[in-house]
């Protein structure tokens, strides 16, 4: 019991010490803050411009170099860009025209069937109703145009993103190198590459898809990477212990087990791509984004809201179907 009492004293003492140390800590912070503010004030008062302004400006030479570089690319690689752009335009045009051409009842039935099969009955029916609403609000054609661009952009993101994700999962150096680039791709304003994009690929869907892919690809890469990395290490070791080489490990163990996470990445890619439709509309991609953009230019709140909701509805339909797929798959093949 004597021990306990001693301890107790110790503890209250400690807590008092803690109190004191807090005061000291905050006190010091306060003093430093006041001094810094005072100094700032003096600096401003004395107009010491070396400290208020930056002494040099690196901007002009760099911006000029960038301008020149873009011009150089446009002039010298025009033929490549034009060729790529032409291919893409034909393809997108075909898909778009097809989607518009198919009578809407068939499209709605197809989506309903897919939702039902892949996710659940409720998702199937809900998706059908949502699409019907799009039609009834006169957004069908725009929605199909948007979907066409979306499909291409997402396919490109997948085709490029998944292999990059796989490489990132197997190389820590590549992963470290790609991380700030991906961060950059998601925070860099699209406007920055939209104009050069148009200079390279011309106005319209291709530049729009470029912008969309750049913005939408990071989650695909990130979650492929993550999915493979978080495959239960015990299972990977089992694969290794049976003499799988790297390729076998990847194709027989890691990728199959990462599929739900990869699907989550694709889902996010689709969502990001949908978030880009208005930006895409600014470079002539048409679709629901253009409806929003036009309505904004004409100050038509109502039209903008309806078209905007159209985008939201598309997003939710796609999300629910793909989430349903992911959940179903997770349930069937996971241990525990």
């Amino acid at each position: 019991m004597s021990v306990t009492l001693e301890k107790e004293k110790l503890s209250t003492q400690e807590s008092k010490e803690n109190d004191k140390s807090y005061i000291i800590k905050y006190g010091i912070s306060l003093v430093v803050f006041v001094i810094v503010m005072g100094l700032s004030w003096v600096i401003h008062l004395m107009k010491i411009t070396q400290i208020t302004d930056f002494p040099v400006n690196f901007s002009p030479p760099v911006t000029n170099a960038i301008d020149d570089f873009v011009d150089f690319l446009v002039v010298n690689f025009a033929w490549i860009f034009d060729w790529m752009s032409d291919q893409a335009k034909v393809l997108i045009g075909k898909i778009r025209d097809f989607l518009i051409w198919v009578p809407w009842p068939f499209t709605i039935l197809a989506i309903m069937y897919t939702g039902w099969k892949v996710a659940s009955r409720n998702v199937g029916i809900g998706s059908a109703i949502a699409l019907l609403l799009l039609g009834l609000f006169n957004l069908w054609v725009s929605a199909m145009v948007t979907i066409a661009i979306m499909v291409i952009a997402v396919l490109i993101s997948i085709v490029i993103g998944i292999p990059l994700g796989i490489i990132a999962a197997s190389s820590n150096r590549f992963d470290a190198a790609i991380k700030p680039i991906l961060d950059g791709m998601q925070t860099m304003p699209s406007f920055v590459y939209l104009v050069p994009g148009i200079m390279f690929f011309g106005l319209g869907n291709v530049a729009a898809i470029l912008a969309t892919v750049l913005y939408a690809i990071p989650p695909c890469i990130r979650l492929t990477n993550l999915g493979i990395r978080q495959v239960d290490i015990a299972v990977v070791e089992a694969g290794t212990a049976f003499g799988s080489n790297r390729m076998q490990l990847l194709t027989k163990v890691q990728i199959p087990m990462a599929i739900p996470t990869i699907m989550a990445g694709i889902n996010q890619t689709v969502m990001m791509a949908l978030a880009m439709v208005t930006i895409a509309a600014m470079v002539g991609a048409g679709g629901l984004g253009a409806d929003v953009f036009r309505a904004m230019g004409q100050l038509e709140q109502g039209d903008a809201v309806i078209a905007g909701l159209g985008i939201v509805v598309l997003a939710i339909v796609i999300d629910r179907i793909s989430q349903g797929y992911i959940n179903n798959r997770n349930q069937t093949t996971s241990i525990e």
Binding site: N138, V141, L194, V195, I198, M199, G202, L203, G204, A207, A281, M282, V283, G284, G286, A290, D291, F293, R294, M296, G297, Q298, L299
Partner: protein, 321 residues
């Protein structure tokens, strides 16, 4: 091409598609609608429209993805336009929207009625009017919703404020985009709040809202008519622009038509009004503008002098159908 020649109508536009710039404001949309109807039915062109923002659309025009833009607001795109014409990428067939105007200092009608003393720019120097337009974060200065920072009129705004000695009285605020400026003005009118802003016409907003322009010196009082030196804006040049491909042979009739194009505020007002009435009945906005064009062509005949006789017949014929 050979097949076209055998089976075709022999019209200039046979087998050609003209891509119009889908600028997202009313006058451009209405003009494009009328022009499209005329070139389709009068000259046999197919037409398309690509919608987008101003800068991307101009890039498209340079590159050739856009063939024709019905409104290039020259003062605002001066540098880009000069460069592109110098490079021979684009050319103009003359003016489009006539009767245009712009002003940096506009107040709502209700405000002027309530403050009869506020008539000219000089009146802003009176403390009561300065306070009228002050906002929470303007440090007591009057706030002016100015021209978009990316347009050339921004520099004019700055010059005027400087020249009028309003630097310490007026804070020039960047609305960012046209849509934002419109929304801010519309909001103020709805709330009947004081607002001081830059705007221009003929536009839907200027036509529907009671805008009063504060008096400024006439442009002619400034050297080179440069409003930035302390005058009002002179009338702007708004051009119809085409991609350089259409400078060559085979497009003579098209160019002749566009050169004669004469669109003024009256036309615009009428067509825009009709558009407002019918737009809800159309499935797409493109269809609405087409119907507007048909209505316009049926109810006006000024256009008949813009086109060749053959074309006129064909257009009248198709309007009757």
């Amino acid at each position: 091409d050979a097949i076209d020649d055998v089976t075709g109508s022999g019209l200039e536009g046979e087998g050609e598609t003209l891509v119009f710039a889908g600028l997202n404001w009313d006058s451009a949309l209405v003009q494009s609608g009328v022009a499209r109807y005329i070139v389709e039915n009068g000259y046999g062109y197919e037409t398309e429209m690509i919608e987008g923002a101003t800068v991307p659309l101009f890039q498209g025009l340079i590159k050739g993805d856009i063939d024709i833009s019905m409104e290039i607001w020259l003062p605002n795109q001066k540098d880009a336009w000069a460069e592109a014409t110098a490079e021979g990428q684009v050319f103009s067939t003359g003016k489009s929207l006539e009767d245009n105007w712009q002003s940096t200092f506009i107040i709502p009608g209700y405000l002027q009625d309530a403050n009869p003393g506020l008539k000219s720019v000089e009146d802003l120097k009176k403390p009561e009017f300065q306070a009228l337009f002050a906002e929470a974060d303007s440090g007591g200065k009057a706030v002016l919703y100015g021209c978009m920072a990316q347009w050339a009129c921004r520099a004019v705004n700055e010059g005027q404020i400087e020249a009028y000695g309003l630097s310490d009285i007026v804070e020039l605020r960047d609305p960012g985009t046209m849509g934002a400026l419109d929304a801010a003005i519309e909001g103020a009118y709805l709330k009947e709040e004081p607002v001081l802003f830059y705007y221009w016409g003929p536009t839907k907003l200027a036509n529907t809202l009671d805008m009063r322009v504060l008096e400024q010196p006439d442009p002619s009082e400034c050297a080179d008519n440069d409003p930035a030196l302390g005058c009002g804006f002179p009338t702007a040049e708004i051009l119809i622009a085409l991609h350089s491909d259409y400078q060559g042979e085979g497009y003579e009739e098209l160019r002749a038509f566009l050169e004669k194009w004469d669109w003024n505020a009256t036309n615009q007002l009428a067509a825009e009004g009709h558009y407002g009435e019918i737009k809800d009945d159309a499935a797409t906005s493109e269809e609405a503008y087409r119907n507007t064009a048909i209505w316009y062509l049926n109810n006006n005949d000024a256009w008949q002098s813009w086109v060749s006789a053959d074309a006129k017949d064909r257009i009248i014929e198709s309007l009757a159908a």
